[in-house]
Symmetry: C2
Subunit: 339 residues, 2 copies
Amino acid sequence: MSKVRKQTWRFDHPIYLAATGTAVGPLEAKGPLVESFDKKFEHLDCGEQTWSKAERALMRRSISACLAKAGKVEGDIDLFLAGDLMDQSVTSNFIARENRIPFLGMFGACSTSMETLATGAQLVDSGFADNVLCAVSSHNATAERQFRYPTEYGGPTKLTQTFTVTGAGATIVTREPGKVLVKEATIGRVIDWGIDDASNLGTAMAPAAADTIWTHFQDTGRKPEDYDLIVTGDLSSVGSPILDEILLEKGLDITNVHQDCGTMVYTSDQPVSAGGSGCACSAVVTYGYLYNRLSEGSLKRVLVVATGALLNSSTPKEKETIPCIAHAVLLESAKEVQP
Amino acid sequence: MSKVRKQTWRFDHPIYLAATGTAVGPLEAKGPLVESFDKKFEHLDCGEQTWSKAERALMRRSISACLAKAGKVEGDIDLFLAGDLMDQSVTSNFIARENRIPFLGMFGACSTSMETLATGAQLVDSGFADNVLCAVSSHNATAERQFRYPTEYGGPTKLTQTFTVTGAGATIVTREPGKVLVKEATIGRVIDWGIDDASNLGTAMAPAAADTIWTHFQDTGRKPEDYDLIVTGDLSSVGSPILDEILLEKGLDITNVHQDCGTMVYTSDQPVSAGGSGCACSAVVTYGYLYNRLSEGSLKRVLVVATGALLNSSTPKEKETIPCIAHAVLLESAKEVQP
């Protein structure tokens, strides 16, 4: 590896995604990216008796799809890196109980998708592992119940509020040649601009995304036009323009290449307020749609900036503002450009 | 690095602990290891208005002690790896907000102490970071409130129950020569033997500790007598003999060198039922007492096996049994043996 200042890791070996796997709920399956998902559950309960088990079904199915497409079995995997939004990340813990792969649990809220991928790529680059399985999940009903109110209560939602994506995404990081390369990762710092409204996480997270993106460009010396796409995880229609504005004020214009997974995963007429959020939001878009576009070569270079709000259900009641973080991973197509 | 089978990492470069820092509450300061702790709070509230803030004070003070002893400032640190038992690891998140160091949150319940240390050592060995700060914390009142009942209720405790250590431990991993070396790490798998009693976590975690220790010996080819000490994190007086028995049945006798941090940190007449537990249990014993013994050379080789119960407050109500994990780190004294 080589280190470009402190926060950006550049992987010296070619590090690939062997395959990806995604599973989503019924609302996501009505969204514009439906064709890119492997497993679409017809019901929000995913055929299970509890919401907790439904979320596990999502992660389980994303992993089984990923393993099948990579032509690997659990015994081929050296390490499992996973996280989710449930207290003590129990979805990941219970899936790790099933697959029996050596396990490192990670938590970065909705940034966990890229936190696990960055760490997995680093472990493979340095030779400590040959194949690392990374997975995250979120479920609308488990997240709403835990952070706000059970969805069964039918409470009103604010317009700034996001809608937790029901889904899971998994990938295997390896040195075996594949279609998509993991080139770099920029590890984020915690930023808190004093937002205390847990119904407005897009605004809270925008400064953290800005800090990581700014650092990424400082560290690499590139410009936004060097990228086909810079996607943020779940800033939503509220947070995305705030991010663009913060960077514009610093002289960095990403508006031509910036999109947000939270607005990509649903159509504008779906009932999701400001857009999608949750660990699965960036994961299903990255490991579904973006992976396919990078595989076929119609996208060459994409920076995925997963954003996370690091609160719990008690901290707003304790009058705390919301610390946020963003981790970025640079993905490139392995397909040669045709002359 | 070189990989000894799948689960054990051996660090090729000499990787050192630059320093350690510990902070504890009043009960721990009355225990037998008091002399090895840096900051001893006289009151359980650590001078703060809430238990949540008290836990943050513990982590903050363990880190400031560690930085001071290492002669470093926050700007010297490339990465902060931390975790705790609070929902969504908010103690770590809020400390990361203060220190502004690029942050990877980790969760392995009480195994997080060695999860962060193993990962930190691996990052330094592979050159992705020069200095990694690792920290964990737990607080008796925040843990009891969250996992059982607020301590103010004065509920009865079972004899198999452990007592969450109020404390925090921090260390800096570096390639700069120091007094204690990080030589190897064995990453654990999740093991669940069907225990469903959240008041008996020592029994639940013993099989996970056995699996990791057994794997460590398989991977390295060593024998228990090659170690001065094998310390488990928080199996307590209930789980420790179960671990010894599981390994004896497999033909591995660790009884001469096995101790448990949960029984080391308190005297037998302190009111802690089966012994100490929590992320801080293994952390304050390792970064306090064991670090000092290794520094002076009176211990040469110690395997720290931190154990974690990967439940949350809901999973027992959902009739789930308790998945557990253990991560082991091999520490060695850098002091030359006198001939």
